[in-house]
Amino acid sequence: MLEVSNLSAGYDSKAVVLGVSVDVREGEVVAIIGSNGAGKTTFLRAVCGLLPVSEGEVRYEGRPITNLAVHKIARAGISFVPAERHLFPEMTVAENLALGAFPLRPDPGQQSLVFELFPRLAERRRQAAGTMSGGEQQMLAVGRALMSRPRLLILDEPTTGLAPRLAAQAYESLAALRAQGMTILVAEQQVPIVLSLADRGYVLENGAIQIEGLATELRNNPTVRRAYLGVV
């Protein structure tokens, strides 16, 4: 569904990500793991149009979307949940969700699905997003991303700032989404939790893919175990 070939991107003409290729097939959950500063966020931003791609190509369902405007990519069926979430702080949960469906009017059916997935949001539907806790904001960010009925959901470090219990809950929700057929690409620093969900994964370090393979392979890979799972 998503094919990224040889992508290079960076800031101020300094490449942070160099020649990265990633594939995501329909219905899969693909993980991108790597330490801080590895380039995961840069990579995802470049894919979603938030950063210019200096080299390489991004294709979605066969169509090239390299360097397409962010809002056009969003309308094409890809929803991106960035690490900073970028919610609308003065708007209520309901309003945030409604905007997720833009340019269409929010579909009540879709909204109920989101509320089923995240009951806490239903309780707080009239609360201003800026006053919510980190965990609730994360839920709202994902919920908003779902309102446009995306076919591909991309998340950047969804566990940022979340206590372990909330992080686990977040991944349970993602598992539920996957069960409903959603394709997911997720960048994550916390390797164990993401590998428990993912089908395949890529290890990104210093802006390049070091290792790739099935999740089970990665879990047993000695380099991965040493670097990310703390196993000597």
Binding site: Y11, D12, R45, G49, L50, L51, P52, N67, A69
Partner: protein
């Protein structure tokens, strides 16, 4: 395509013309340039000395050159957008005019008083801007409100200031200042003094601090440069320069009114002159003042066209030459020099 602003500081300084032109040439060259320009301008009355109108225009041009040099110091060297250039000059002018006429104090003393007052006002605004961490925009708005408020104060306190009809300034009207040619040389000397002062200031440790805080404010602060103090210096010195020039004008011209010092009448042309000439350059203010005084004179009979021309120029300038003429010329000249050297056998 790109997103949040990672670093707007470099963008702003690109717009404002980062770096002082003074640092790139030696003191000798700078003083030589000033001397040459001074001599050239000193010859101007030879051509236009007979015409009272033209001499008046020339003196006004020199006055605006003074204003622009001061604004260059405040805005160009320390990035403080003081949209109250006219008001500061007005503070000096009215202070000196009123105290000399009402209280009979000889006007050289009232001018010192007036300059002191303008320095105080300038310094206070810098201090406020620093204390409240006002960015460029808010500094601009606050000083703009001062400019407008000052205008209204002048209009409202009719008994003291003469209100809309203005104030006739007696002190100084019986000196050489009121004649046709001498004011030209007086103001020319002031321009030269201001330019030399500008060079000396920028060679000193104060100038070094200015450059540090323009280039990277945070780094400067971390290295121990007291940003507040140097901004206040710039504000005070610049304010004083404006106040003195305004006061001198009051006594030379013999008549001032609120309209002489409004935002539209002073600040906008000064802004245009400085940007055209080149913010942060030594000669920029002179070039800008000269060109726009000339254009103003050419368009004098079409006052509405002047407004349109000023507006169009502002747009064209900021879009095409944010670095100003002096820098454009300089880089053009160094390009030429490079080409000449390369093509030598």
């Amino acid at each position: 395509m790109t997103t949040e602003d990672f670093d707007t500081a470099s963008e702003t300084s690109d717009l404002l013309g980062g770096g002082g032109g003074v640092r790139q040439v030696s003191s000798l060259t700078a003083f030589a340039a000033i001397a040459v320009m001074g001599i050239a301008l000193a010859l101007v009355p030879i051509w236009i000395g007979d015409s009272r109108t033209l001499m008046g225009v020339a003196v006004t041009g020199l006055l605006f050159a003074c204003y622009t040099i001061a604004f260059n110091l405040i805005f160009g060297s320390t990035g403080q957008l003081f949209l109250a250039v006219g008001a500061f000059a007005g503070v000096g002018a009215y202070a000196s005019a009123i105290t000399s006429d009402r209280f009979g104090i000889p006007f050289p003393f009232t001018m010192i008083l007036a300059t002191g007052l303008a320095m105080l006002v300038g310094g206070v605004f810098s201090w406020i801007a620093v204390r409240r961490s006002l960015g460029i925009i808010f500094t601009g708005i606050v000083t703009l409100t001062f400019s407008l408020a000052f205008d209204n104060v002048l209009l409202g306190l009719r008994d003291i200031t003469g209100g809309e009809t203005g104030l006739v300034v007696d002190a100084g009207s019986d000196t050489f200042l009121s004649r046709q040619i001498p004011p030209y040389y007086v103001f020319l000397s002031l321009v030269l003094v201001y330019l030399v002062g500008y060079v000396l200031l920028h060679r000193s440790h104060i100038g070094w601090a200015f450059r540090a805080l323009r280039d990277d404010e945070i780094a400067a602060e971390l290295s121990g440069v007291d940003i507040a103090r140097y901004r206040i210096y710039a504000g005070a010195i610049g304010g004083g320069m404006l106040g003195f020039a305004g006061a001198l004008w009051a006594h030379a011209e013999g008549f001032i009114s609120p309209a002489t010092f409004t935002f539209v009448h002073v600040d906008v042309p000064v802004l245009v002159m400085l940007v055209f000439g080149g913010i942060g350059t030594l000669m920029g203010p002179i070039v800008g003042a000269a060109v726009f005084t000339y254009i103003g004179e050419v368009l004098a009979s079409f006052s509405q066209l002047r407004l349109i021309a000023e507006g169009a120029l502002l747009i064209v300038l900021f879009l095409l030459f944010p670095q100003g003429v002096v820098r454009a010329l300089r880089s053009g000249a160094s390009e030429l020099w490079r080409k000449l050297r390369i093509s030598k056998p």
